[in-house]
């Protein structure tokens, strides 16, 4: 099993964090993982993105050119990476920020109004957690329980309210992906 993921969005949407929590959970489940951010002077309004590999075998190249999973939190991310997504791959996108949607054949496409769902849950910050939920709900790449443990250790004392919102957002994402 080998997943090559690109997660992408505007700075501040939490695209890099999507990758980080997936990679961390993969590591906790005994997989080989890598997390490689794009860094440097990104143009305002452009994309911040991260390459994540989660694999049973040693990760050779950590650079993802052709993702098997694309998480697109905004339209420029779709414009940049949708065509590179492999046939049979998965594209998860945020309806609220992707007015033109995705034009691609031979991939599975799931989407949700992530901004709106996050606001309903109580914090716009957790929109990326909806995306994580959708990815794991569709692919089973990592377990919900592993993410819950990790987030709990990270947020329980610092911000219990935000923890609750995060977990709720992941569960909502899983539910949406499976419905």
């Amino acid at each position: 099993m080998k997943y090559e993921i690109i997660s992408s969005g505007f700075g501040g949407q939490g695209a890099l964090t999507v990758g980080k929590f997936l990679a961390k959970a993969g590591m906790k489940e005994g997989k080989n993982v890598s997390w490689l951010p794009s860094y440097g002077p990104e143009m305002r309004g452009g994309t911040a993105n991260v390459s994540v590999v989660i694999s049973d075998k040693e990760v050779a190249s950590p650079l993802v050119s052709f993702p098997s999973i694309l998480v697109a939190l905004n339209q420029p991310s779709i414009d940049k990476f949708a065509s590179a997504t492999i046939d049979g791959g998965l594209i998860v996108f945020n309806e609220d920020m992707c007015p033109n949607g995705v034009k691609r054949d031979n991939v599975e496409i799931i989407s949700a109004p992530m901004n709106q769902i996050a606001k309903e849950i109580g914090s716009i910050k957790v929109l990326n957690m909806v995306a994580i939920g959708m990815v794991i709900g569709k692919t089973g790449i990592v377990k919900y329980e592993t993410l819950e443990q990790d987030l709990t250790a990270f947020l329980e004392k610092k911000n219990p309210e935000l923890l609750k919102a995060n977990l709720k957002a992941i569960k909502k994402g899983i539910e949406l992906a499976q419905s």
Binding site: W35, P37, A60, P62, L63
Partner: protein, 360 residues
């Protein structure tokens, strides 16, 4: 080893250096190695260490000279343009036989270049860079775990040979997060024990000597006959290192290789991906990955040249630097090809596969 944590290469090597007894670190910030300096700034005071953000790279390397002269485990780090600024100091460290660790998280050059990963400093690291006849031991990691492991290895080698040791990394390895586990932290007693081997030459208050005669640490020898002896002694040391410290990895090397690749650091990761994909197509390609790039594993390359190997191909993120060492090792026996990528870009496995297939 500790439980695995997900960490950036820059932070992992900093943590590993502290665990290996580094209590003195002097540097000046530069992308893409700034997380390293941030980590040291935050963590060194917690272990009663000293971090100084120097006014320049030149100042930082000369602070290293001072601390190394006192027999302490000391480190500095920078990225390509900053390493160029340190070159005078590195030559002085080498000339004065001072153990120290220098990390280069390479970025695109020449000049200010850009801040993306590159391997354009191979010549500078392995062939000099500073003036005079000197060598550094140069370690070239290709993963976050290896980057971290090299911290303690670099200090041990520096101590063993009284030589500056460089870890030649790059922006990708610095910025990437991978799982890493750490060796246990050396205690103050263990650090003191390691530093004991320097007591017979380093600067220190010496109560045994009533006239407070201090050791002299210097790279200036005005008498040519004395300097000749000094440089020949350095040569002896470099020969000894060449005998003892060759280190490389063989990946899919076997008697049926059609092509043998040579690549180090980040480039080697991409080549491994390409080799795996080619092997699925029934094309048998091996890789020699130098782990230490000085001393260079020439014999490792020589030893895999047999009748079935048609060509050796070198892959680097530069215009062709290590390929010169590969050509010296192959010595005209078979053709040596090269694929480079510059500007801070990294070739994809597909580009590597194409280069290999074009040479079958």
């Amino acid at each position: 080893m500790s439980e695995k944590v997900l960490m950036k290469g820059n932070e992992a090597v900093a943590e590993a250096a502290i665990r290996a007894g580094c209590r003195l670190y002097f540097a000046y910030p530069i992308t893409p190695q700034s997380e390293l300096i941030e980590y040291m700034a935050k963590m060194l005071p917690k272990v009663k260490g000293t971090f100084v953000q120097a006014e320049s790279e030149v100042a930082a390397i000369n602070m290293v000279y001072g601390a190394a002269g006192c027999g302490k485990r000391v480190m500095t780090s920078s990225s390509s343009p900053g390493i160029s600024l340190k070159m005078e100091g590195i030559s002085y460290l080498a000339g004065a036989n001072l153990p120290s660790v220098i990390i280069n998280v390479q970025r695109g050059g020449p000049g200010l270049g850009d801040i993306q990963p590159a391997q354009g400093d191979y010549f500078q690291a392995t062939k000099g860079g500073g003036h005079g006849d000197y060598r550094l031991i140069v370690l070239a990691p290709n993963s976050v775990q290896e980057f971290a492991d090299m911290a303690s290895e670099a200090f041990d080698l520096a101590d063993k040979y009284r030589i500056p040791v460089m870890i030649l990394s790059d922006g990708l390895l610095g910025q990437m997060m991978e799982p890493v586990s750490f060796k246990p932290t050396l205690t103050a007693e263990e650090i003191a024990e390691k530093e004991k081997i320097h007591l017979d030459w380093c600067m220190r208050p010496n109560e045994d000597e009533p006239n407070h005669h201090h050791h002299e640490i210097n790279s200036l020898e005005i008498d040519p006959n004395v300097l000749e002896t000094h440089v020949l002694d350095l040569e002896k040391k470099y020969k000894l290192i060449t005998e003892n410290e060759i280190k490389f990895e063989e990946y899919n090397i076997n008697d049926d290789n059609q092509i043998v690749c040579v690549a180090y650091g980040t480039a080697s990761r991409i080549v491994k991906s390409a080799i795996d994909q080619l092997s699925e197509k029934g094309i048998n390609v091996g890789l020699i990955r130098p782990i230490n790039v000085w001393p260079y594993p020439s014999n490792a390359i020589k030893n895999v040249l047999h009748k079935k190997v048609k060509k050796v191909i070198t892959f680097e993120l530069n215009l062709g630097q290590m390929v010169e060492d590969v050509r010296l090792a192959v010595n005209g026996q078979i053709p040596v090809e090269f694929l480079g990528k510059v500007g801070g870009l990294v070739f994809s496995p597909d580009e590597v596969i194409k280069k290999i297939e074009d040479n079958l």
